[in-house]
Symmetry: C2
Subunit: 307 residues, 2 copies
């Protein structure tokens, strides 16, 4: 089994929040990293309610600069300052965010004890915006009324695992072990070549998560997200409002399910629900007709990717 | 009985919100006006939860420019725009707010269907900042780390009420009735002067509400709020943290109660609680020892002024 890879839903509403639903925000816990994805108003409260320690978050990814995806940033940063955070906080977004947020930080967050580092990307290009030894994050250009991207989070393959009995019997040196973990064969003390496949086990399957909101139906994203374990795709409307979805550059639940089907996703989460749907069954049923393994992304849900 | 004069508490926390407590915001419903006082993050949600119709609010009063008193403005305004509001929205505050908020409005709230009118006041001076035929609002200069004011909401006296039997018997003309309502006597058809006191009743007692946060202990406010029906005074700390209160320009619950006593307030509401107090009993008990008619201003509480 791979290391932890879970998504916690903090907000499921579209632009008009309701008393039950918060605007978009999610936390992805992947290989011991904590990534915040979008940050609508109330995100800091939702982090508390869901008992996620603020200080763990080092990177925030903002899909686009509509208020329901970023109005919670200033409050969250301000609170992190009051809590005495020291580590830099990285915000990956459209370049305009820095211009909008920096004057507020300068005024409201004087003496902030940590650095806010803005990392701007070009929303028109698929771009690798984050990478470490375990995880990488790419942008997914979407089609909305303003420049918008999704994010594809992918675990990197771990090294091959040495079989215990091989290590016990042959006691290879460190240099040899590194070579074997990377796929090399082993020349044992009797001069016999032991093929890698015989002395190692496959590493855990790598997991992936694609976050796609806000967007109209857009088949261009399918190639990039092919075979993703979990796809979050906005489903602002049901098909009863297909025309409105088209006009406002949003998707219906059916369209989200079509994308999931064509991409061969393992699981579909739908969210970004219009406030007109008090009961979300219509959206879930519509998506499940096309893609049975669909779930609503409701506040407080924790989804284990790969299970 | 006077017309409605009720306070709804939307947020009771100080700068660090908890999962139970929201940052400062209150709605005062007075003589059929709806005033929003401060607007911390999450105010729009709290308005929904408390079933207060957004569209009724025409005036917002901001005590000072710390984030926990104003970070909810941009989300609230944005939502009012999506709801199709047409009436102007007046924001009374320090002049810096316009400079901070306007660039955000220009970016996030394009095509806002109503006007946001900024009314700047000088926080150092007691100033009449709002007045109509039924209500007036004055600023109360406070002592905090940055320029801060409280607000004193006062009903204006209504006209004297004509006694029904007098009207029935003498059938005075409209001109005479206006004069009598304003305190005039009446010369009846027999040439006899009927004194105003015999033909009218006193109008309902006028009510008043003083909102004082954030501030250190400050006796300068007492004269202005003398005899107020309800005083909201911050009580960020209990006396166990009196030094911290002094250092951060906040008040203890005991100090809030001392102000209420010296001002002869009818009732004291305390709020703006530090997140360190999970249980607020210590704050309430401390204040009640000095001023027995003290209440906690918890989220969702509705206080009828004058009852």
């Amino acid at each position: 089994m791979s290391k932890s890879f879970t998504i916690t839903i903090l907000g499921s509403s579209s632009a008009l929040p309701t008393s039950d639903r918060y605007p978009t925000a999610q936390v992805l816990s992947a290989s011991e990293r904590f990534f915040l994805i979008d940050c609508g108003e109330g995100t800091q409260r939702q982090l508390r309610v869901n008992k996620i320690r603020f200080t763990k978050i080092e990177h925030i990814f903002i899909s686009h600069l509509h208020g329901d995806h970023c109005f919670g940033l200033i409050g969250l940063i301000s609170t992190l300052g009051l809590l005495g955070r020291k580590a830099p906080l990285y915000i990956h977004s459209h370049s305009h965010l820095e211009k909008l947020l920096q004057p507020q930080l300068d005024y409201f967050c004087t003496d902030l004890p940590f650095q806010v580092v803005f990392d701007a990307f070009d929303p028109k290009q698929k771009t690798l915006i984050y990478e470490d030894k375990a995880i990488q994050v790419e942008t997914i250009p979407l089609k909305h009324r303003i420049p918008t991207v999704g994010f594809l989070f992918k675990q990197k393959p771990e090294d091959r695992k040495l079989k215990k009995e091989f290590v016990f019997t042959h006691q290879p040196g460190i240099k040899d072990m590194v070579a074997i973990k990377n796929g090399g064969d082993y020349l044992n003390k009797d001069g016999v070549v032991m093929p890698n496949g015989e002395i190692t086990l496959d590493p855990p399957k790598t997991l992936s998560y694609a976050f796609c909101t806000d967007t109209k139906y857009n088949e261009n994203i399918i190639e990039q997200i092919k075979g993703v374990d979990v796809l979050y795709h906005e489903a602002t409307f049901a098909s009863d409002n297909a025309q409105l979805a088209k006009k406002t550059y949003h998707s219906t639940a059916e369209q989200a399910a079509q994308i999931a089907t064509k991409a061969g996703a393992g699981k579909l989460l739908i969210g970004h629900f219009s406030s007109r749907y008090k009961n979300l069954t219509i959206l879930l049923d519509e998506a499940k007709t096309v893609f049975p393994n669909t779930f609503l992304a409701n506040e407080g849900n924790v989804i284990k990717v790969g299970e």
